[in-house]
Amino acid sequence: MIPEVGHYALVLALALGLIQSVVPVAGARRRDAALMRLADSTALMQFVLVALSFLALTICYVTSDFSVATVFENSHSQMPLIYKITSVWGNHEGSMLLWVLILSLFGALVAAFGSNLPAALKAHVLAVQSWIACAFYLFILLTSNPFARLSEAPFEGRDLNPILQDPGLAIHPPLLYLGYVGFSIAFSFAIAALIEGRIDAAWARWVRPWTLAAWVFLTLGIAMGSYWAYYTLGWGGFWFWDPVENASLMPWLAGTALLHSAVVMEKRDALKIWTILLAILTFSLSLIGTFLVRSGVLTSVHAFATDPTRGVFILVILVLFIGGGLALFAWRASTLKQGGLFAPISREGALVFNNLFLTTACLTVFVGTLYPLALEAITGEKISVGAPFFNLTFGPLFVALMFVIPFGPLLTWKRGDLLGVAQRLMTAFAIGIAAIAIAFVGQGQSVFAPFGVGLALFVMLGALTDLVERTGLFRLPLATVRQRAAGMPRSVWGTAIAHFGVAVSMLGIICAGTWGTERIAVVKSTQTVSLSGYDLSFDGLVQRPGPNYNALVAKFTVRGGGVAVGTMEPSKRSFSARGMTTNEAALMSRGLGQLYLSIGDSNNDGSIAIRLYYKPMVLLIWIGAVVMMLGGALSLSDRRLRVGAPKPAAKSALAPAE
């Protein structure tokens, strides 16, 4: 009964979606307020229905109703409750349901909080949002029905893939989807603006909070996924340039660019057409990401099924929305009015530079991800494009971008004084150079790493310089500084913090990647292995049963400088339902670095193969991402973004300092 309710609710949502796709547009044509307002209620109701459908599926999982095919395929009665719930989206069908749940959530939020939007714009935005929703409802109902029943209910389920039975991966997809799908709002706004043929600074002010919110979630989702890969895949890497990872990185890069170009549009009424294009491209990349992950065209760490009907269906959605969006853009963009003027050396100029490099970096990731697929489709030749490719292409572009980050916020709008800014950054620059020298002398292995460390420090100090300059710290009396700091818009703090975070992540990546140490060995009981000043002695193997698995635990005592600092217990879990084992690495944080220990095969004589890493500063990678996210969230809480869209002229006269 419950699965049928869920199925039915989804069908109803589709019906409402079809109404919402047409009626508000007709309403906007005829200037009929009642017809346009209809979109509000349908958007809210769509969300309620999809939520109901999602709830129904969750109940099926929680109660282990194995008569439902997806529950049988992906759940097990012995699993802990938390994994019963997370396995709802731990498979293709359920994750698509989560996708539309979040899509309808964003639609409902626009309906609920967009009361200050012009009626026609809102009607168009909700209609476009509904076009996307309908496409995906159809996709689920026709090709991936999560509620399909089995004619005979099996007694026991086939268990969730053990790799996914992990708290990190439990919350990774919802966060990622909040980001991915959140960009749909920017897309809908862009299409609505093109339909209306009108766009102004206020448009950017409406779009920016949505983009920022999506970006915050996507940042966190990517960081989460990378941490999960780090501790679960057992070889200590945190980013593999795997197509599935790239699928989330590309919208992030484009979204970051969009975030910055929307600022220019909001403040200076410039870069309008580019911002619209970027909004379309960002969501297009989200769709491409969905296609890559969901259609099964990839072989990867996250590899999974090939099912052509689904692939072709998503491909059709892709072509419809990306092709349609770009065609509309080509047709209507010329009708949009030109924006303001600015000199190349100015805040706008710096943001253009940012956009140029972010989108180009995104393009290189795009090529590296899709070229192997295209090559195989055309010539049948199979290649793999891995880290070396991305280090050679993405790397230099990102380094150039990093170097310019500190200059951007210090430049003034319209026409900047590069020399003055350079002078103000002298301290940061000098410390960066000093760091390069120290790092270079301190170690002899790498030329690039000291340079990277210096660059990261330069960006961090540059972000602080911006704050110091604005508050007048060290120049003005403390009381004035406090007053200025309190009066500063939160978006300024947000910018500085987010830029600081990027550099923190970069520092972590460089240090862990360059100065990490590694040891692979076979150890017998009571034997000791040493690495980077730590001694690990092996205390033997024990069996430890879990709820739906059996763990083989290797016990190690860790000594640092002769003093016992703790124990590490890496393990291997065998899941009988799927005949699979997973590797649970043991992590021990020492300051910002980590010891990382995972085990391989055990031999008959009681010895065991181990992989031991010491990764200095590795935690900075994820701390940096959290700092970035906090910067974004702080920016989002800026009053300016919450209070509707005041007249642009009045506002820019009040706040020329930014």
Binding site: A303, T306, L341, K382, I383, S384, L392, A521, R578, G579
Partner: protein, 154 residues
């Protein structure tokens, strides 16, 4: 500067960055990509020693020899041809005789592969696609097996 000049500066800069990116991509594509081969391809294609490549197939039953210090020697087969693979390190959990495997490394002059990466399949139901293709090409693929490819993490 007039609007036109400014636009020219912008377009010039964009093209410059794009050209640099294109140059980077092209040079990286020449140097850092790795081709995938089946054991039969390796035998037939006259690939010069020292080339980095990936090979895929099944671990030949009875071929696995484990030496000291985690040295492993095994043969990858597609049913027609075998290629010996040397590897030093921990093999994946699901590395077993008769199972699918993908190895990446340098081809030595004696036609063995000195692998630095060995990937095995993820779970009982999943087989790396490259392995499936290699087996299909050599005609050792039984159609009934396609269902086994339907494992789908995430």
């Amino acid at each position: 500067m007039t609007r036109k000049q400014r636009r020219l500066v912008l377009i010039g800069a964009s093209l410059g960055v794009l050209a640099v990116a294109a140059a980077l991509v092209l040079s990286a594509l020449r140097d850092s990509i790795v081709f995938f081969n089946s054991p039969t391809d390796v035998a037939e294609k006259h690939i010069s020693p020292g080339t980095r490549m990936r090979i895929g197939g099944l671990v030949k039953p009875g071929s696995v020899e484990r030496g000291d210090n985690l040295h492993v020697l095994f043969a990858v087969t597609d049913g027609k041809t075998d290629i010996r693979v040397r590897y030093n390190g921990i093999v994946p959990d699901l590395f077993r005789e008769g199972q699918g495997v993908v190895a990446e490394g340098k081809l030595e002059s004696d036609r063995t592969l000195a692998a630095d990466t060995v990937l095995a399949k993820h779970d009982e139901r999943y087989m790396p696609r490259e392995v499936v293709d290699a087996l299909k090409k050599s005609g050792r693929w039984q159609e009934g097996q396609t269902q086994d490819v339907r494992g789908k993490p995430q």
